[in-house]
């Protein structure tokens, strides 16, 4: 089984972001980057599926030349090889999906695994767009019908079941669990509770150095990635006002009624 898995570099969610001088970008001085946590889950799932069904995991990333660090992380987790589409400029989900479409056509994987969103832009678009452009079935927000403390999780059993050319995906829906069956090839996006991603072990970090990273550019793939979505302005959320202490529950109720107006 051939699994294509996307890997995006995102700003470290633990670092406080600053808005750039142009108000349309994030200031990049001293920024720390990590692998998008949702993609990390996708990589983990891809490795488990590969270990179960044999085959290979190819990770792909779009971004400036130093996103090789995130690709190496995925290779150190256990992916087999990597593709990097070098692009330093602006990019929206549509551009990403069109680039991935080309990679899909070259590689012809059985499954495309992607994070359901990336924690920086939070658009949730790339997966569904890719499925649409490829005319493939999609199953979004793959989750697990099992706790993350279960034996299955400890034994690294994949949460996505594949039998023949059908994948069964469990997803959280309002008030319950929904089970989908999709025909492969398909695009599957991953949610947080699918698995606990592994740490790259130090020996595997050493070995990842020798794995292949193949480079492309939007030009070499023949894709125009001029963004269709324009950013007009970034703004920080307004600072929260300090809280107040109330003396007793009567005062609390009064304030909820008259000031916050959340109860009547």
């Amino acid at each position: 089984m051939k699994i294509l898995c996307t890997v995006k570099r995102v700003t470290d969610p633990e670092v406080k972001l600053k808005i750039g001088a142009d108000q349309k970008s994030i200031a990049t001085d001293n920024l720390k980057y990590v692998l998008n946590p949702f993609d990390e889950i996708a990589v983990e799932e891809a490795i488990r599926l590969r270990d179960k069904h044999q085959g290979e995991v190819i990770v792909v990333s779009v971004g400036p030349s130093d996103v090789s660090t995130q690709l190496r992380t995925a290779l150190a987790m256990g992916a087999d090889r990597a593709i990097q589409i070098v692009h330093a400029g602006e990019l929206d989900s549509d551009g990403v999906a069109r680039l991935l479409q080309k990679v899909y056509e070259q590689e012809k994987p059985d499954v495309v695994l992607m994070g359901k969103l990336s924690v920086d832009n939070d658009s949730w678009q790339a997966g569904p767009l890719l499925a649409e452009y490829l005319g493939l079935p999609q199953a979004t927000y793959a989750s697990k019908n099992d706790s993350l403390e279960s034996d299955n999780e400890k034994n690294k059993v994949p949460g996505i079941t594949i039998e023949g050319t059908t994948a069964t995906v469990v997803r959280e829906a309002d008030g319950g669990i929904e089970t989908l069956k999709v025909q492969l090839p398909a695009v599957i996006t991953t949610d947080l509770r699918l698995n606990i991603p592994r740490y790259p072990s130090l020996p595997n970090i050493m070995k990842a150095k020798k794995k292949e990273i193949k480079e492309h550019t939007p030009q070499s793939l023949g894709v125009d990635v001029t963004p269709k979505v324009r950013v007009l302005k970034f703004e920080l959320p307004p600072a929260r006002k300090a809280g107040v202490k109330v003396a007793d529950s009567a005062e609390l109720l009064a304030k909820l009624r008259s000031e916050a107006k959340v109860i009547s």
Partner: protein, 391 residues
Amino acid sequence: MSTPVSLEELIAWTSLLSEEERLVRASVARFVRDRCQPIIAGCFEDGEFPKQLIPELGALGVLGGNLEGYGCPGMSAVAYGLACHEIEACDSGLRSFVSVQTSLVMYAIHRFGSEAQKRKWLPEMAAGRVIGCFGLTEPDHGSDPGGMKTRAKRDGDFWRLNGSKLWITNAQIADIAVVWAKTGDDEKSVTGFIVERGAEGFSATDIPRKLSMRASVTGGLSLDDVRVSEASRLPEARGLGAPLSCLNNARFGVAFGVLGAARACLEQAIAYTMGRTQFGVPLARKQLVQQELADMANEVVKASLLSLHFARLKDEGKLSPAQVSLLKRNNCRIALEAARKSRALLGANGVSGDYHVMRHAMNLESTYTYEGTNEIHALILGRALTGESAF
């Protein structure tokens, strides 16, 4: 208020590290944050070493991290140093476990052992299935190990070991001990043996009321006519230079490690003084407080860059013992000072386990002493500078 600059930005290590080194550091830091940090204050308080972490450390690949072959990852000195750094940012006792396993015991076998010994022990130790300890110090001989009383006497194809060792990390949990003993009277007769747990006459004892490295195991070894085979002798170890070269190797990990603890303390002190208001303003707005923070940052930044420079020399095989002594002495000293100062800056909260600084300070007292005391390293450096021995 302007945006504070982080210690990481001041040191600016990142641009000096390879991708692989950065990944090693990030992976270990994450393991420490998720698996070690949440339990460490309790382990220290209870005087318990978190044994459940051993297989995880093995799977992560830090045990024997800088050794080649036999199931070891063969990392650079820099990468291994960074791993020690991140582990000790949590606790010096955890790093001590890694140091003893890797730089003392596995290194001794790797460098001085027979092919059969290497094949038998190193892969198991790298995986964390076999735990080792290193018995050099004795009740009456610490800084002068050449005066050791433990003796090995030939007995046909066997040896008989008699003596005792004290202050031995991992003693009570070790499956094997590398024990150093003299076969004659002079230092040239110092010989190393692999003694297995359960050997008749071989036992480990606790050291009660230990106030430092409480999340690490430290004990004594007693050897009462213990019979070990000739095949358990480390064939390439000849004389006191052998155990000393192990120490020299381990000191490097100590030096990198203690800076992790120093940074954890300084970061805590910065965060605390920024958040704590006295006399109507944050403590961090007081000049006396800023001077303390600046002094600590000075030392930590300098030591970090020196460590990296020396680690690169080590990778090139150009690091001299005098340089190792300088590094070990400097880093342990400034780390202990940073921990003590941070402790004071946190006021009463500084003595609470929840704030970690006093635990670090207590641990760092041991690092100041073990692997060659502060004074012994001054003497090594002094001898290198003057050619005169003042031991």
